[in-house]
Amino acid sequence: MRFLGLLLLLLVLAVLSLSAGRVWLGPIALFDALMDPEGAGRMIWNLRLPRLLVGMIAGAGFGLAGLTFQTLLRNPLASPDVIGVTQVAAFGAVAALFLGAPVVLGAWAGGLAAVAVLGWLAAHPRHGIETRAVVLQGLALAIFAAAGTEALILRMGDSSAGMAMTWLSGTLNAAGWAEVRRGIWLAPLLIPLLLAGRVLDRLELGDDLARALGLRVGLLRAGLGLIAALVAAGSVALCGPMGFVALAAGPVGRLVAGGRPSPLAAMLTGAAFVTLADVLARALAPAALLPTGLYTALIGAPVLILTVRRMARR
């Protein structure tokens, strides 16, 4: 029932997203435009629809990766955008841009490297992994990576530096069908994370109990962590490191799912979140084309505070 509500919300936001922009379309005009891809609907089909799809795919990826990391590390703060996975992926993407390599490969290399470094730093001889330390070490990693990215951008020419800065706050302005096609490649990576709900449920009870229940905790944590890193990095490659989506989607999705770590709810929440932010970006300042990531942070911060308060009150 709650999932249905979330799905409905996503649908409403999607319709709004297709309507919103410098030219607002009413429901009937929107329908006509969708029916006429070659004529009146060209703007919708060439600009708004791919933009919507890229945002939803990236948001879904951020949401899933966020919940996965938060649950694997048993810490609501341990989302990829806090523990440095997103930042190192962004560094990898910018470095790839700098070297003329495919952006997504750079982002993936960065995401995997971040998880490898965190896993190595946090390895604890007695407990397998020191989950509390990861957040702090990841924070340091994030700052380090952000500094590296800035250094790279400073060495770029003025025009590409400006584009890179916009990209770094997370933007859908460049999203077209090529990005949608690249986003579809992410789908197979989402599946294992979507199916991991039961594993996440068990890991929440603590490593020892999860292992006593027959789970291969070390293997599952490493495997799911690496996949989640690829997903987060893939989303970064699509639209830049959009702030707060991964961090907020986990707890909000959890609230929707009645307190359980539900990958489906986190994925839908992430997608809805980015779509909402993009509607706002175009509804509030249609001419300015401000980065969508500005609005995800704007909505994300209060949503996160409210959610954490609600969780604490339970």
């Binding site: 007695r126 199916l195 039961r198 009870l205 020892d208 292992r211 229940l213 291969r216 009645g258």
Partner: protein
């Protein structure tokens, strides 16, 4: 013979914690593990659950080397409840208990009728049927501990390992839980770590004393919970007396 431990040595982070333990536990009944902090009790319990690879030696459960068992098969034979397990906020009692079915459930499929029946039986056994829909974090300490024990019961293993199940409970709740543990000991093998020696004397069929990762004594409570083995275990003197029912009462000397 549920447990046969042969020359077991365990290292944690390169540090030796258990040194060549060698003993067997008979089937059924309650075994209490006693020892000072850092004597290796929890490490031994984790090793018996198959969660730690032995540096040397082996743990056999009903004749089977547990290090050679796949995790799921192991989890169908031996259940373990770690100390101070915390339920995620909002999780209901029934949801928590259902987690115990994990090793029996087919991957990606929901619980079947067998699983639901096992959960019902576990809730019944600990007397939490009426509270099954309540969040675990809204229960009293004693009820909460019973919910965790129900999780382990739902796992339907004939061997249950408990790490300090009586911790942080007040005396009435301790007494209540002891009654429940006694019942479990009638049909299964229960091994648990205990701090309160007088309680250990009352519930355990046998007591195993550890000091610095070595076995000091193993035997019925009347033998192990006496001044000499206790001095060797804890390094201090004890005053021991015997109640009319023949069970010992033990206190540190000079307390």
């Amino acid at each position: 013979m549920p447990f046969e431990i042969r020359d077991l040595s365990i290292h944690l982070g390169g540090m030796p914690v258990l040194h060549g333990l060698d003993f067997t536990l008979p089937a059924g009944g309650i075994t209490g593990i006693i020892g000072a902090n850092g004597s290796g009790k929890t490490t031994m319990l984790r090793a018996m659950a198959g969660l730690l690879p032995p540096e040397r030696g082996l743990v056999r459960h009903q004749g089977q080397d547990i290090a050679a068992l796949p995790p799921r098969a192991r989890a169908r034979r031996i259940a373990m409840l770690p100390q101070s397990a915390a339920a995620p906020p909002g999780l209901t009692v029934r949801q928590l208990v259902a987690r115990g079915r994990t090793p029996w459930m087919r991957p990606f499929l929901p619980m079947g009728p067998t699983d639901r029946a096992a959960v019902d039986r576990a809730l019944q056994a600990v007397g939490l049927v009426d509270l099954a829909a309540r969040p675990v974090d809204s229960l009293s300490g004693g009820q909460r501990q019973r919910a965790w024990i129900a999780l382990v019961l739902a796992q339907e293993c004939d061997t249950i390992l408990l790490d300090e199940p009586l911790n942080f409970l007040d005396l009435p709740h301790q007494a209540e839980l002891v009654g429940l543990l006694r019942q479990l000991g009638e049909t299964r093998s229960v091994v648990m770590i205990l701090h309160d020696l007088t309680i250990a004397a009352r519930v355990c069929d046998q007591v195993l004393a550890l000091r610095e990762g070595r076995l000091v004594a193993i035997g019925p409570p009347g033998t192990v919970l006496s001044p000499e083995p206790l001095r060797e275990t804890f390094g201090i003197g004890f005053d021991c007396t015997t109640l009319p029912d023949g069970k010992p009462v033990v206190l540190p000397a000079g307390l």
